[in-house]
Symmetry: C2
Subunit: 372 residues, 2 copies
């Protein structure tokens, strides 16, 4: 009796992901590789399906936020390097070592606890030392802290595989803070002594708009999904293909008299007799309540979301009577019009990253396969 | 290699759900039953675990939004009446009939298509006719529409099991619109002729603050999860027990110098040397970016979320140096202080329903069992 019967779906185009990765890989310097950032279930697009398309297009490794996500990749058979970008509790490092999963080390104290835990591990742990150059999240901040970490890192049970930092403003026109981070990165890198195999600094924005500073891995996230990291603040140097669209259909259509109230709180009243369509998507799918007043596309026309968005349904004002079953586009192209994730994010005063990650598992995923 | 290694969890207290349902059932008139509304994965609490506790406490049926959710309950072995509140595409009605799942009928046109689809069905379909009395979402609006629907409903392949409506303002102090809906409900009900087995109008708010109007099922949703349907606009007539808390721990603690920037966009700068803690929860878990500036609890103290909330992590300002591994409460009680889902919702300018439903599946669920 299982299977999906719901007339609403998130369609993910693996070809778009493949193409975006292939474009990016083509533009890399010869000694630089691309690791696909597939954390948060591939920014809501599906971790395994994204990883598959990205690997086929030339991604040679993966970045995730959590050990559990890395284990999910290994369990699915992905054999490439995997780096956990967040801080893994030091008592779980043995499992990472066994599965050849690289971990970010935030400081010497973490390395010390990890070393103690790894005492009886048969496998060494691959570590990338995190530099906090101005993101303020994780990592060592000073030369002294680098040196303390290195004293531990050059020994068993560790394999010192990388150093990295993360830029907090690489998607902004003002490069002041970015340049300060670059300088601090150079200072800290100099304290490492011999460079490890992987040195990396670039997220999507850095790879698109900045000269890489002596790094050899790009951690390619949001651009892989076809999204401009800056929203629409900075123009893309080459086009990206959005990988996601959201489609549904009208499940119910009715005419209401002038004055009729729509949805919770009776916040909307029909100005005249109006045709109202009901769509089976709501905030429990990640279609935020703040999107009241935004629109969907039906037959190439924008239809306003009227009244409060419900948990599982929302209502739109139709230009005319339309049959139940009529196709509705919440994100994507319909005729000459389109709604991008950025349009949704702008209306909701957030970033497209959050809209994508917020699409809950209740919304069925449908994958369009790629051709290599 | 599976299992959960992440130091962040949603703890769901099945006892609270049990107690809330038991309290509500005790207060029902003798001929009225309680159906637990477990759509949207039990408002983010876990559909099956909520259903289990609710049934043990006296819920005799379930309401869901989608056929797929109803099938999930049947597949898990729940044998009680189940009503799908949303509009099920009429071409899927045979599956519902086979599984003894009741469907909401929004109008006569839907019944007509359903009847055609059910021609070869061995099982009849149980139907609850929806009255749109002022919610503006689904259902028949006029006496003529009731009569058209009834002409179809009194015949095979349908079992006419219920009529219902939904109030859009039952959680508000102003009862004007509510009373209009009640009046319209009475008018439409009179057009039905013989009352079906189930007549229902009450969501949580209606059951808490209004006299039921000749109904015999309460569709008990948000109050079952221990939440006040009105936020904090109306006082509860009896206490409810919140069923959900969110806990994590500090994964990284550092001191930053005065002026140091925290997180994306460098929107926060330390006013003086400050201790900053990193917590492995972010907007991809449903902890919305709008919660920047809100707080978490550590050792009974509120610690402000500083800088933008990231996809997988957030930073807080600590009162002093604290060890990594220190417990963090995002929702729940810590010492003499507490953060409720309503506190979170107020800060984010939304309703607790949306916060609960937005907690994504990446956040591990831990269940505390109930005792009957
Ligand atoms: C350390 C690190 N590297 C690389 C990336 C990829 O970024 P992008 O998607 O912009 O290419 C991220 C993503 N971060 C998310 C967005 C966050 O922490 O909020 C990251 O945290
Ligand atoms: C038809 C119907 N009945 C009963 C309930 C339970 O409501 P409550 O949780 O307030 O007790 C709901 C929930 N509705 C959600 C909230 C919605 O449609 O947005 C509903 O749609």
């Amino acid at each position: 009796i299982s299977g999906i019967h719901r007339p609403a779906k998130l369609v993910i185009d693996q070809q778009a992901i493949f193409d975006n990765v292939q474009q990016a890989v083509k533009r890399l310097p010869a000694d630089t590789v691309l690791w696909a950032v597939v954390k948060a279930d591939g920014y809501g697009h599906g971790m395994l399906q994204v990883a598959q398309a990205a690997a086929a297009a030339g991604a040679t490794g993966f970045c995730v936020a959590l050990l559990d996500e890395a284990l999910g990749l290994r369990q699915a058979g992905f054999d490439q390097p995997i780096l956990v970008l967040g801080v893994t509790p030091a008592n779980q490092v043995t499992l990472a070592a066994q599965q050849r999963i690289s971990l970010a080390a935030p400081d010497a104290a973490w390395l010390q606890t990890a070393a103690a835990t790894l005492q009886n591990s048969t496998a060494p742990l691959s570590v990338h030392l995190a530099f906090d150059t101005g993101m303020g999240r994780i990592g060592v901040q000073t030369v002294a802290e680098v040196q303390a970490a290195m004293a531990l890192l050059r020994q068993a049970p560790f394999v010192f595989d990388g150093v990295f930092t993360h830029f907090s403003t690489a998607d902004e026109a003002d490069t002041t803070h970015f340049n300060q981070q670059v300088q601090q990165f150079k200072t800290l890198l100099a304290a490492v002594g011999q460079r490890p195999r992987y040195v990396h600094v670039a997220n999507s924005a850095t790879s698109l708009w900045h000269q890489a500073c002596a790094s050899n891995v790009v951690r390619f996230g949001v651009a892989m999904y076809g999204l401009n990291p800056s929203g629409d603040a900075l123009p893309l140097p080459y086009p990206l293909k959005p990988a996601l669209r959201i489609e549904s259909e009208l499940t119910f259509v009715k005419q209401v008299p002038a004055g009729a109230a729509i949805s919770y709180g009776a916040t909307y009243h029909a100005a005249q007799p109006e045709w109202i369509g009901t769509i089976p998507v709501g905030y429990a799918d990640g279609w935020q309540r703040r999107l009241q007043g935004f629109h969907v596309l039906i037959n190439g026309q924008a239809c306003e979301i009227v009244g409060r968005i419900c948990m599982d349904q929302l209502m739109v004002r139709l230009p005319e009577k339309l049959p139940a079953g009529t196709k509705v586009t919440l994100v994507g192209t319909d005729g000459d019009t389109a709604i991008s994730l950025q349009d949704v994010a702008s209306f909701a005063h957030t970033i497209h990253y959050e809209i994508a990650c917020g699409l809950t598992m209740r919304l069925p995923r449908v994958y369009l396969p790629y051709q290599a």
